[in-house]
């Protein structure tokens, strides 16, 4: 039986088409459709219920050491209010999850994880915590709304004073007050667009949604579902757990090197990653040069030789064309390499390109 986020009734009221996702009932789209929702985020603003995301709080004198043991990234010297992306690896160097870490204090960090991995992550964390760290799963009490798009700052400015709006990318304001509701606002997102993720207590969720919705109306804000969330992240070249990475794909194969600090003295999976050396296969972008759409799990060929498979793919509304991401053997990973995808028995031509298909311009 799927769970409902505190915003379930609002989605039904808003005309959302409800589907099961990661154990929750969530809207895949609203009345205006995936393309219109996608374009709203690129050009104006969209809002998403992401309350299904997991939130786990690390506290205690060894909280930072526990994070360093569990995560591939380095959080040393991270300022309070800063946010940092990381992967959490298993002993074999595969990905348990990818996540972001917020620093609230020297002994207090919040880890935001994928909904589909939340129980697995929490169990993995509890097994590997150092003495002197407490990890609490807050997920069932916390609602989260993502406000994404170029108009997002202006919309927030109608609701809160400037100093409550986080300025730098990957920073957060822990206590902002939106219409009297205590919220944490973080300048993060999963769309490749300027935007915020706003966390609050479940009890505030419906009112926060309505306040944001109303404030955003004059700016062209519309609610967006999981469909647009996926097309937006793909267009921006952002990886999705279960697609570009999983327990058997290393973060280096997934081209997440920036979040993997092999020079740290120790972390779970480090030895395996070092032993593996240079990855034999690597994540790339694909531009479809033939006719069709390459989706996930489609085998890629050079002639008769299978050299990899796609991990995600769809039509990207802002670009107006289909793109895909794939894991391919290193020797075929150079931009410009011509490949063919087996799309349900039909060969579709494609070409390796950098996987950031869309980059926001200031």
């Amino acid at each position: 039986m799927e769970k409902k986020t505190p915003l379930y009734e609002v989605h039904v009221e808003e005309g959302g088409k409800i589907v099961p996702f990661a154990g929750y009932l969530l809207p895949v789209q609203y009345g205006s459709g995936v393309i219109a929702e996608h374009m709203a985020v690129r050009e104006k603003c969209g809002m998403f219920d992401v309350s299904h995301m997991g939130e786990i709080l690390f506290t205690g004198p060894t909280a930072l050491d526990s994070l360093h043991h569990l995560m591939t990234n380095d959080f040393t010297g991270m300022p309070i209010g800063k946010v940092r992306y990381s992967v959490m690896c298993n002993e074999h160097g595969g990905c348990v999850d990818d996540l972001i870490v917020y620093k609230f204090g020297e002994e207090e960090y919040l880890v935001v994880v994928n909904a589909s991995n939340r129980d697995k992550d929490y169990a993995h964390m509890l097994r590997n915590l150092l003495p002197g760290t407490v990890a609490q799963d807050l997920s069932d009490d916390v609602a989260e709304i993502a406000l994404q798009g170029p108009k997002a700052p202006e919309i927030l400015r109608t609701l809160i004073p400037e100093e409550q709006i986080p300025k730098g990318y990957y920073t957060a304001v822990r206590h902002a007050s939106i219409d009297g509701m205590d919220c944490m606002i973080s300048r993060t997102g999963y769309t490749g667009e300027l935007g915020y993720e706003i966390f609050t207590d479940n009890a505030n969720a419906v009112r926060l949604w309505k306040v944001l919705r109303q404030a955003g109306e004059p700016f062209g804000l519309i609610p967006c579902g999981l469909g647009a969330r996926d097309t937006l992240r793909l267009e921006a070249g952002m990886p999705l757990y279960g697609h570009e990475m999983d327990e058997d794909i290393s973060p280096l194969e997934a081209s997440l090197d920036f979040g993997v600090k092999l020079d740290k003295p120790e972390f779970i999976g480090r030895d395996a990653l070092i032993a593996m050396g240079e990855p034999k296969r690597i994540r790339v972008g694909l531009e479809v040069t033939g006719r069709g759409i390459i989706r996930e799990h489609q085998d890629l060929y050079v002639g008769d030789r299978k050299i990899g498979a796609s991990t995600s793919g769809t039509h990207c509304p802002y670009l107006g064309r289909p793109v895909a991401m794939a894991l391919v053997e290193r020797e075929f990973a150079a931009p410009g390499t011509e490949l063919e995808a087996d799309v349900r028995g039909r060969r579709v031509a494609c070409k390796v390109v950098p996987y950031v298909f869309y980059k926001r311009t200031k």
């Binding site: 789209q29 006719r291 069709g292 289909p322 039909r346």
Partner: protein
């Protein structure tokens, strides 16, 4: 809710059929396009290909999913709607104008529903 023109016949798999004096025009219904969402690619057979009643002859892709399209009739593809190859969104905009194929030499048809029976069929599927 769904536009279901009186003058057409319908397959349970959500294709519409219009008999134009022996030439059978086939398209996707309003129900089908609403369920699929924004259609971004249509893969059609070639003229001269055989289609078989109840078997897939084309696929349409929305942003999120691929759906097979089943032929309501057995026959030979006489014409394909090439406009859809460049502008697949026409299926969303006007599903009863945006036909997919025209079939000649028809020897067999699926069990086809009239508008009232098809409307009941859609209502049952939505439950």
């Amino acid at each position: 809710m769904y536009n279901i023109p009186e003058e057409l016949k319908y397959a349970k798999s959500h294709e519409w059929v219009k008999d134009e004096g022996g030439l059978f025009v086939v398209g996707l219904t309003d129900f089908a396009q609403q369920e699929l969402g924004d259609i971004v690619f249509v893969n059609l057979p070639a003229e001269g290909d055989e289609v078989v009643a109840g078997e897939t002859f084309a696929d349409v892709e929305s942003v999120k999913a691929v759906a097979d399209v089943f032929s309501p009739v057995t026959g030979v593809v006489a014409e394909i709607n090439e406009e859809l190859l460049d502008n697949p969104a026409l299926v969303n905009e006007a599903p009863y104008d945006a036909w997919l194929i025209k079939v000649s030499d028809v020897t067999d048809t699926e069990e086809l529903l009239d508008a009232a029976a098809y409307e009941a069929h859609c209502a049952a599927e939505k439950e």
